[in-house]
Each structure stands twice: as C-alpha cells, then as structure tokens.
Symmetry: D2
Subunit: 344 residues, 4 copies
C-alpha cells in the first residue's frame, strides 16, 4: 500500500516519530476492545524528504503489513454483505476486487493517518494543536463541556475518552457488545486550538464545509456538526449569538456557539466539531443476504473486526482535520497583498 | 448579480419556468413568517442556450433586483455584528465591502437556486426527483417517517412542512418568535428518489461527503446527517444493517438506515439526509458588540430579516442536492468501458 | 459578454485605465491594416473592487459592445466554412449557436485582455514588465535580437513591430494582401523582464509548458517556442549551454538560450518566447465547401475581417502571459516554509 | 520509483506486454547512439487491476531499477551545472535533493511511458493509433511528407526515423557528435490516426493546447507546433484553408494544414504535431560554472549520457499524446445528452 502527499512546503522538519505514534493509535489489536487482528505497519519514505527536511517534492511512502496472511475471500467474492459496499462497487464498476476490502476498506485510512501526521508537523510550526476524543458510545454520552476536561488524558485509556468515569462505562459497554457478537456506533469530538483568524474560503470552500466533507469521507461516518450543531438549531438567536469583545487588541467572543468559524472563516476561537459513526457492519452473527446471482444466502458471522470503531478512529479524525487546516493555511498565503507565511 | 453554470451537457431542453418557480419559493417577502423585505428577481440568460436547448457552452445568467434601494450601510461599515462574518472578512482580506452583505450574504443563494433548477432539468431526464421539506423548527420536531407523508404537500403551507398539524404549530411558533424580535433555528430534510445505482466516487468524493459539503456551504447551516445519522450512532449493528433482498432481478434493502448510500455510492434506494440551521443572527433587539477600532458599541435591532430561515431554505437545499447529483451523473459516464449516458 | 476573474489577492490597487488601454490595443478598426469593423467596448465592474482596491472576491465584469448590429447569420447557419470550427462544434455538441461571438470566436479574447490587465496590475507590484511585439508577417522576419531594439517603440506603429524599417515593410505587405482579398499569418515575440527566480512548478506545470498552453489557446495559433526554440534543436550542447556566472551575489548566465527558464522554473533572466499565427480563415474570395447536409456549396467572400491577426493579437499574448505568471507568483507563496509574498 | 494512474475506466483489458515494449523503447543503453548507462526496469502492479481487467481504482505501479549503483553525487551537491535545474531548484525550495532521479531528471519519464501504455490500451479499444518518429537531428531534416512513409518502419533502426537513408545519416551524425564528447538536439513528429470528431474542449482546453502543454513538459523540449505550424504562419489564407468535402456521409478535408484540429476540436483527420528538443546539457567536456557559494568552478566532463535525446524520446512523446487523447475521450462522454462511450 502506498500514499503520495503533494503540496507540502519545502524546509519542514520531518518527524518520523509522529507518524509512528499516530499509526500506533490507529493500529488494530491495540486493546481488548478493538479487533483481535494484528497488523504491524512499517513504512518507507521514498521521496520528498532529504537530510531530515521536506524538499517540496511529493512525499511518497509505502506501507508494509508485516503479518499479512493470504486469506480465503471466496465468501466475499460470491456474496453481497449487508450494509457493505459489495453490491454498489459490483454494479458501478462491473469488476470487483474482493480481496482485502479494496478502496472501500478502512485499511485506506492508514494512508490518511500518515498524511495527517505530516500535516500536523506543519501546523505545529504555527503553534496549532488538534485533539480528538471519544464523546459517545451507543447511548452513552459525554455531557461535560470539553473545557472542563484535560483532553490529553484521552490517550490514557483504551477507549480514548478524557473523562475517566465515562471511559470506564464505555469500555464496559463495548466489552459487553463484543461478547454478544454484535457492534455499536459512537461519536468523536475534535478541538483545534490556536488557529489564526482567516482560514477558510467563502461560498463553496468554507472551513466547516471542508471539514465536513473530510469527516464524511471516513468509513462508517453518518453525520457531522460543528459549534452548536443540531442542538443549536433548537435555540433562539438571542441565546445563540456570540457576543464580540476586545481586550488589549485581541478580539474574542464570550461564548463560542459558532465553533470558531463565522461565515466559513476561522475567527481565532477554538474550532470544534463532532462526528457520528454507525455500528460496524461486520457481525459475529449470521445474517441473511443474497449472492451475486440474486439468490438468497447466509453471511456467516466470522472473522475479526472491531466491536466499536471510535477508539481507533480518533487519530483518523485528527489526521483529516490536520490536512484540511493545512490546505487553508497554504491557501491563505495568497489571499492578500503583502501576506506572508510567517503571519499566515 | 450573475452566475455561470459550466459543464451542462448540450441538447438539454431549457425550462425557464422551473427557474422562475424555484426563485419564487426562495423569494423574500413571500409570507408573514419571512422577512418583510421585497425582492423580485428577474433574470436574463446570455449564453449557453440556443433555440430552447443548451449548447454545451457555459450558461451565463444575470439577475436584476427590481426594487433595490440605496441603503445606509454606515452602521455595518463601522461595527462587527455578533455571529456575522464582519470581523472574519475584515481580518482575512484587510478590505471589506460592507454593502449588501457581499459574498457572505444569503443573496448569493439566488445563484444557487438558478443553477439547481438547471440541474433539476437534467435529473428529470433520468426520472430523478428531489423533494426537501421543513422537519424541525426550534424544539418542534416532525417525528413521522417521510414515507407516511405526501411530501409534495409541503408546498401547500407557508412553512413547507408536509404534515398539516405540525405545519400549523411551526407557523404559530415562528410568528411568536417574530413578535418578540427574536429568531429561531430549524431543520430541513431532503429525499432524492429514483437514483440509479453507482453515483458517488470512492475515498474523498463519496456521494454523502459531497452532499455534506454542499449543505454545509449554505449560510447558517451547523450540521448534516444522512440515513440514520446521529441517531444511528446509538444503535447496534444487528439493528442497523440493511438486509439485502432480490426480487425479479431488482436488488433492494428491507430497511434503509444507509440512506441510499453504501461505501459512498448510491444503491438505488431513496437517498435522504437532514440539515440543521442555526437561528438568524440579525435580531430586532439591541446587542453589545465592538466597532472596527475595538471599542464597545451597541448593534441596534432594526432592519428586515427572517425570524426563521428554513421555509425559504427548502429550495436552496434542493438546488445544491441537484447540482451534486448532476456532477456524479456526468462523472459516472466515464466510469466503465461501454458505459453510456442512457443507462447512466 | 462577461468575465469573472477569481483568485486575485485583496488589497491590489485597481487601475481601470490599464484595462482601457489594453482594450484599445486589441480593438477592431484601430488602423487601416485591421478589420474595418467598429467595436467600442465599454465595461462595468460589478464585484471584487471596493473603494479602488480589490477585495479578494471574484471580479465580475460585463462588456457592452456599443454598436453591435443584428446581423444576418443565415449563411453560417447552413454552411461549414473552411478551416473554421463550424463542423467540429456541430458534430461535438449536436447544437450550434451560429450567431457571432460564440466560444470559438476571437471576441472571447476581450475577456482575456481584461483579465490580463488585472494580472499586470499585480505583476507591476513586483516590478515585472511584459512586452510583446510583432516579429514576423508572412515571410518577413525580424532578425535582430530583441536586446538591440527599444521594445516599447512597437506601440508607435500600426503593425506593432519595434524596428521602424521592418514595420514599414510589414504594413506594406499586409496592405497588399488586404487589397487582394486574402490574408496572411505572422509571428509574435514576447519578453518578460524582472521575474524573480523560482516561478514554475516541476513535472506537469513547468513555467514554459503553462505559457505554451496559454498561447496555444489563442485563436489561430499554430506553434510555440521559448528561448532558442526550434532553432536551438539544431545546435550542439557546447554551443547551447548557458554558462552561469556570479557577481556581487547575483547569479546570471552569459547567454540565454534557456529563455529564462531551467527545469521549468524561472532563473531570473529575461523570459522570452515566440508564437506562430496562421492566416485568418475568412477571406474576401469565394471558397468551395459543404452545407450542413453535406451538399457542395460556395462560401462567399464578404464581411469585415483582419487581413493579418498579429497586430491586434499583441495585447492578447501579453494578457495570457500575465495571467500565467500571476498564477505562479501566487503558487510560489506556499512553496517553502517562511516564504512571503514580499520576497515572492 | 512509483506512479499512480487515476481515472482509468473499469473493464479495460490490461496488457502488460505493451508496457514492457514501450519501456524497452525508452531504455538507456539500447544502442550505440544512446547513453552507455544500463538500466533494466522491472515493475509491479499493486492496485487497480484484477484478473486481467482494470477495476476503476487507481492503478499503482512501482518500478525497480535492477542495477542502480550508489553513486558519488558530491560534484553535483556543490555545483550548479550549466543549463540544468540545479540553481533554480536550490533557489526555489531552499533544499535540493541532488541524488540522481530527482524530479527534474528524465528518469521521471519512466512513469509517463507506463501511464501512456495504459492510455494506449484504452485508445486501441476505439481503434486509434499513435506513432511518433524522429524527423530531425541537428540540421538534418526529414523533408518527406509522413504520408509517403511507412511510419512503423521507424522502429527498424536505432534512431527511429522511418526513412532508411535519412536514418543512416542521422546515426552517423550522432556517432560523430558522441565521439567529440558533445551533444546535439533534434525534432520528433507524431501522428494520431482514427480519432473521432469532437475531442478537445473550447477556450482553455483546446486539444492542441493540451498536447502542447504535455509535450513542453518533456525534459529538453523547446518548442511545439501542430499542423502547418511555424511554416503555416508564412502562408496566405487562400493557400492554407482546408477545403471541406463530403462523400457518402463522411466529411473530410482535401488538405490538412489544420493538423486534424479546428477550433481546438478534432475534425477526424490525422492529428499531427512536431516537437523540438535542445541538445543534452551534460557534456563530456569541461565547462565553467559556479559552486553553490558563488565561486567559479569547473564542471568536469564525465558520466554517461545520451549524445542526442530524440531516439529514446519517441515513446515518451507517444505516451503523453496518448494520455491527453484519453482524457478528452473520457471528457467527451458527458458532452451531450444521450452521448455514449460506444460512439464516443
């Protein structure tokens, strides 16, 4: 498997450890509430980096999966699995490569995590930080405001929820679901701090619209909201407006229902958004379906899969957010005469 | 104001009446629950249409607003209004054209409604139909499944909700909010019928991701979900999977939590999604804010604005959905060898 | 007719006079060796400029042709003219808008001249200058090196050749051709001065490749060469290499067969290139052809057209060159960490 | 090294032998008039092909160079070679990867030849054929019209000229140049047969403009002309116009100065164009230059390089032509209502 990251500016210090760390966070088999499948990714950087700095050339990376076994895919070859992309790919293309999931497989997200880690390297140059965490599993919901929590503590438990009590409940719930051969959905929240004012482009490339498209590209995602989101649509204007204040030359807002974005452009407050993931479609239970000829068949419950996708999707959400923010940082450098990348 | 629609295939019958009808549905001043501002758009088609057929050239259209008055914008020139894009535009560009809202104004959506009407002309050639409707105003929520409702009846009331009882409640609620000088948010649902299997592209141009980006581009939108959405993220896989069946060569699913899309590609079921709109930021109440120099000021409650944006946003949601679907119809024609636009 | 120029940075001083001046240089009927057709363009700027500065929004401009007459196009409607795009448009699109000014008409270049004038405004901020001139008419060829000539003097004669003697010969030749009801081709050379090092992108967006595509987009262009061009392909490496020298920190080359571009990237020397235009296909002589049904017919020699396109194409070559250079100036601002638009 | 070819329709028969054959034609060390360097490319197809058919997924290919030796690049690291991209890359990016095979190296064209071979597979489905050949070396020029020659015979001699007598002269000339430690430029012509009417898009994506950009992307290319080219710019309109005739429903032209393209769109005649290559900049002679600090230095004449690039560039010209034509074939499928890929 391989990925090409194009458009990275030259002269960026390349931090291989950051890539490794985020791959570890995404890795299957990392805990008792993820898939038991073991995949240990090693990657090689073939281009775009020289003596520890990016060169401005596309960064080409290949990924080796150390313990890939040749598998038996005959059951997928002949069957359309429920709520998978088997039927749509077969019909759209006429040809379907059923081995290892192909482009509709979540293995694709390894590439995104690598790209996102490189994007983070650039964002760190500007002091920006991205932190995602699990804020919901099934009907369990983290109600606390993120400002009351130490978000970095999310990495201290296997479900990646920054509230230890809620984390415990979520882990217990996923364990129970797993035991029953079933799966469950969940929510991830993400906060981006220290963004400059001015990221995002009017009309069709608004910052939140691009974040939305990126998040909706992740396998199993069913919804996206930013700032006050769906709950905000129940509010009144007099409650929802973010009052603007100024202190010592710094403009800020007293509330942040806008989620750090006004008119599609960052306003300097924290950017935050939330992403909904459906339950994994592969079950340990038998399910009715049809085969490629249209005859009834049974999809057997077997294989190794995640009972809940959100713990491992946290670095994926961060990666795509980082890539989107990076694009707008680079775009912003040609926005006005005399702009410079130093001031963004 | 003007718009250029590029990429429309040649030979399409151009239906001016459809454009007029959708502009009427978006028009300010259309009922007692919208803004009292009167705008009567007339448009001229300058290129791309010849003897009633599209020519394959870009379709250039200008729009005249018949009763535009020269207004006094001095209060906007000097002030940053809360939860508007004044501050972000000023900071991003250094120059801000404060007249008539500019690119962050919802007047921009006139262009989209025109483009969407042309997209609908193409989709009608393939038998596809798009119907949006208001499914929530403030805390009022239309709980009924859309399949139990006659969606076309949404156009029979001024709030555009296909359930007459709920419509009545919504109208009453908006009227009350308006009387109080306040505003309220809401939700719009959209259903697309008779889509072929195969629309949408893998990885970063999934059908729902593109729909999401389009919807999040609409002014005041805070969230997007498709199929089971956020509620689906609380479910278990055994409840959520859509069982596939086949009858007389036609493949369908017994439920449609997938919202007509699997792996980012349409599966032939109804496509449906939901969009959340925040309350309008312009109020009839005074609000604290700062002026462009950072000094405290008061934004006065005046002017004419919508107490709730969703009744007029229904044709905008449809328009952007139509444009997205069109793009994928055209893209799908080069997907496989021997494909033709007749079969999509 | 209208044009939208997108991507112009905010804060640029908008120079309406520069647009007018370049439109004058392109205008039909400007001298006895151009078409006798009179067109007097007036233009309105609708968006993207506020109080004399660009705002970062798309600049929308419409153009009115003051003395457009309703014409009789029936002869074009029914006939395929030799070496025109009638047959190819008809076949490609099935529908053909035969009224003057379609997309294959050179009237389209009015838009480009306007866009190019805006691009020049930006390039002037960086001190860059673009000067095109006629270097060949039919078999008449300006052999002198452009460095021996005062290029600005090209504007002092109606054929736009900076060598007065050669200009005289060219004017005489075109006059003779015109009298005979015929047309003749020619060549335009272009020099871009004071470009910074680093414009152009590797592989498929090399600076000269983008200039080539732009020039080949101009109606009637048949060829493009830069630096030593076709003549250079007859040389030996030991003659052709540009020796690099350095003086007081400034790197330059002793010759400039490279035309200011090495590896697709500007090296700070003058960029120069040459463009070949075929003779205008509309003649004052009768020509055999076929009608839309495939029957033989005669295309009559009538109407007003240019006997030689190059005098009026000089500002068009400059305009497209300016737009290409501008794109690369803006792109270069995200090339390396710490780059700024001040230093490019 | 690796390449990703995206956008290839599903269901195309994948012909590995065609890739191998074109790589052989590009290979260094293939004859006594090319570089003595030996490179034997082997490639692996990682994605996009399944059971001999393309799947619609990106086709990912990596290339191994079997006898790559670790080389001493210190002389390049410290020096700016004349008429190479060393200085421009160093200045543009601040970082320069001086090890062989960077993005300005002609090794990049291995990727293009592979992509082009896949494009040829698609074009063969429509019966199109592309044949390039050497038509000039230094001052030696193949004057004969290509229609008098058997173009496929170009592959029967090491210089790839379809005229045996001229081929002999060219080989002799290159051998002599090589012996003198020098290099020489040349010209390649290319003919595309059996193209349908309608390929190419108006305004800025004209067929010949895209071919021009592609050809100008090839290392060492200095010029591009199509149809009558620069010579055509010396002609009169009455000589140059291609008279249209019709016979049994087929429209054709009696001459083809247009090179098969009118208004940027193919007209069904042979498409032909010509490309000029400068002499290779690496010589076997010492040359003056400067080092990276600006001090005078001598670039020593050593290493293995081609005395003339055109014999090996023939498959590269074909490859890029094939890719351009493919893009327009795919684009054309959404041009008009009811179009199908069967009829293009």
């Amino acid at each position: 498997m391989g990925v090409i990251i194009d458009g990275c500016p030259a002269g960026l210090k390349f931090d291989t450890e950051l890539i490794k760390k985020d791959l570890e966070r995404r890795k299957p088999g990392q805990s008792r509430i993820t898939t038991g499948r073991q995949e240990d990714e090693e990657f090689d950087v073939h281009s775009g980096v020289f003596e520890g700095l990016t060169t401005g050339a596309p960064i080409g990376i290949t990924i080796r999966n150390k313990d890939q076994k040749s598998k038996d895919y005959s059951h997928i070859a002949e069957t359309f699995r429920p709520s998978h992309a088997d039927f749509t790919y077969q019909t759209k293309y006429g040809v379907r490569d059923f081995r290892g999931g192909g482009r509709s497989s979540a293995r694709e997200t390894v590439n995104w995590v690598i790209g996102g880690a490189i994007a983070k390297m650039l964002l760190h140059e500007y002091g920006m930080e991205i932190q995602a965490f699990v804020s919901g599993v099934g009907e369990l919901e983290l109600e606390k405001d993120y400002k009351e929590l130490d978000l970095s503590s999310a990495e201290e438990n296997i479900v990646r929820c920054p509230d230890p009590d809620m984390a415990e409940k979520m882990i217990e719930h996923i364990s129970k679901i797993k035991k029953g051969g079933d799966t469950v959905g969940g929510r991830i929240s993400c906060v981006i701090r220290n963004t400059p004012v001015g990221l995002g482009e009017p009309v069709f490339n608004k910052l939140h619209a691009s974040l939305g498209q990126a998040m909706l590209s992740i396998n199993a995602v069913k919804g996206f909201e930013y700032g006050s989101g769906f709950a905000g649509s129940m509010m009144k204007g007099s409650e929802h407006n973010d009052i603007i204040t100024s202190s010592k030359g710094t403009v800020s807002t007293s509330t942040n229902y806008s989620g750090g974005i006004q008119g599609g452009i960052s306003n300097g407050e924290d950017i935050y958004f939330r992403v909904a993931f459906k339950p994994v479609a592969t079950l340990m239970k038998d399910q009715e379906s049809i085969d490629v000829k249209g005859n009834k068949t049974t999809v057997q419950g077997k294989g190794r899969h995640d009972p809940c996708v959100v713990p491992r999707a946290v670095p994926i959400v961060e990666a795509l957010a980082a890539l989107v923010i990076c694009d707008f940082v680079l775009l912003s450098q040609s926005t006005k005469l005399g702009a410079s990348s130093d001031s963004i």
